[in-house]
Symmetry: C2
Subunit: 351 residues, 2 copies
């Protein structure tokens, strides 16, 4: 097949990990006879430096025309004043909104070879296999904001339609997994959560084969630690999802390992490792490219329908995690390029 | 000294754990020659059943006249419909607001004898000693809410004055501890967080002896697991505090162990264990009273200025945690009354 992929390397280690992910995609394309065209554009801090805007119009236009978008990371100390008018994260939020990617999928598994890196006890990590579905284009992230000298406000807003579509996505994904959806809200306090809960409950009736459970966000923050293997698909609103997925990511031993896929109704998906721009190690060639490479696998699966190729990449990554080489964040000594090459070499072993 | 303490047992295990805490306070009073008068009032589900309201006027009046208020827990399956007009938690939110207790203190230490119960690896738990200061009377909990068939909104609002007072409280507490405050917000997305961050930064200048660090709430959710011993005082807004303190509570091995104190400018403090009403074990005499007993110790310290008596209770609890008896939630077989009696007996050993 032919596909057009826009890459948005962004800032910090973003370009380094994206280079590795693109190399893996090219290796897969070559083996399977696909043609992937890559086109790189600016986003985040580097875009602010070059154009004054965190999401230049040219970038957005290219993304809209692409089959999929692969993003590195945005931000860094140079642009880190949260009071500044123009900030790198605005680019990220703007592209999520513009592409309408309302469902952010963050799978979490703990590779057995890396259990020793997790802060959690080994017995807790057995059989952990969670898929977070975080609502990504609503809530307090995109609500009205006000600010005076004395006061600030953020409005969290959800419509029934916004909750319905992300709920359906979660239930459809649960069908292909262990048929269990946990919906997280704060319905004992927030009105948006009460709307969330009643909508999720109603949509759940369309999926009688899937079990629905509700949890309050504070309890869920605890249960992720005490009973992580109990959960299958966890669906929640934007801000709760931001917090819970980062908490869960700590379980995996390193942020550098975890991918994400952001999907809407349209075909253009946005794929990014969940780690940030890691300015402390940027430019040194030591960033772990696994999160970006696994994001590329999700791209093949969800935007291009290439399930076999996606599984092959995931198997190759698992092979490398089991046998090495390992990057520094997971206790090894290898750099980004070595990990990239090892994953590419493993594509043949696992095929 | 003479003091008037209002008890609000509430629902579920609330009455059982409060009985134990009151017995410990009475034992301390007898030993030290104090006179504590206790007066019990309704709150939560039982108040709804008796009066139709989760916080009856008589309860509020009594609390306002008291020297301190000791609360058990509210809620239970009988009143658990989040869409209901009248809910037990409304009583809790209303009393927090009415007493103006804007600073919710939640200390977290992991007793060495209980490290095996924590989901976290033992080496991570060493030297964990965190004091959360959660803003308790602002934010989305108390902002305007709207609801139509199609849409719901919650407004999160903070004024500079609200942030200033809780920040000062956090810095004052840090002075007596390890001189380190970590302020948690989501300043890369929320306007209220940007106001929070600039206010905290400004107030910090009044405390040059205390080190200030800012963390984003998503990073903090991770750092609590990967580097819990790095933190001293953590100050944050209401909803983030709700989530992070529950996450942190999981580290202690059981929710049943942890106390809280809610303080305002006035003298009336509100003290409650952080566990809920635990309807599954209510009425069986097996609830762990340690969270309530330690809340009573905080009451002596913060509302009555009885530091020695507070420390004595804490030492007695530590003695019981080290030597037993242990309640079921921490792997033992003893009931609420046995733990209560053991703590009271230990008051003499540790004095
Ligand atoms: C960078 C930030 C705006 C972003 C978010 O909060 O969504 C990040 O934390 C994430 O989770 O992708
Ligand atoms: C019961 C609920 C309203 C309450 C809160 O969210 O504040 C509880 O979770 C707490 O932390 O005290």
């Amino acid at each position: 097949m032919k596909a057009r992929i826009v890459t948005l390397p962004g800032d910090g280690v973003g370009p380094e990990v994206l280079d590795a992910a693109v190399a893996v995609l090219e290796a897969v394309a070559e083996r399977a006879g696909h043609t992937f065209e890559f086109e790189s554009h600016l986003i985040g801090g580097c875009a602010i430096d070059a154009t004054g805007e965190p999401l230049p119009a040219a970038t957005l236009e290219a993304c809209k025309k692409a089959d999929a978008v692969l993003l590195g990371a945005v931000g860094g100390p140079k642009w880190s004043d949260p009071q500044a008018k123009v900030r790198p994260e605005q680019g990220l939020l703007a592209i999520r909104a513009a592409l309408g990617v309302f469902a952010n999928l963050r799978p979490l598994q703990v590779h057995p070879a890396l259990a020793s890196l997790s802060p959690l006890k080994n017995e807790k990590l057995k059989n952990v296999d969670v898929l977070f579905v975080r609502e990504l284009t609503g809530g307090a992230y995109f609500g009205a904001k006000t600010r005076t000298t004395d006061t600030a406000t953020d409005e969290c807003k959800y419509t029934v339609a916004e909750v319905e579509r992300v709920t359906r996505r979660a239930f459809e994904l649960a069908r292909e997994r262990r048929q269990h959806v946990t919906s997280v809200d704060k319905a004992n306090v927030l009105e948006t959560s009460r709307l969330w809960r009643s909508t999720v409950t109603r949509i759940a009736a369309e999926y009688p084969d899937v079990k629905l459970e509700h949890q309050l966000v504070d309890s869920m923050a605890m249960l992720l630690l005490t009973q992580p293997s109990r959960y299958d698909v966890i669906v929640t609103e934007n801000l709760f999802g931001d917090i819970l997925t980062d908490e869960a990511a700590a379980l995996a031993g390193s942020l550098g390992l975890l991918p994400s896929a952001s999907l809407g109704e349209g075909k253009v998906g946005l794929y990014e490792p969940i780690h940030g721009s890691a300015p402390d190690i940027a430019g040194q060639g030591v960033a772990n490219p696994v999160g970006a490479i696994l994001s590329a696998a999700l791209l093949l699966r969800h935007s291009l329908g290439l399930e076999i190729e996606a599984t092959t990449i995931e198997a190759a990554v698992n092979h490398v995690l089991s046998n090495g080489p390992h990057s520094r964040d997971i206790g090894g000594k290898s750099g980004t390029a070595e990990i990239r090459d090892a994953v590419i070499a493993a594509l043949d072993d696992v095929a």
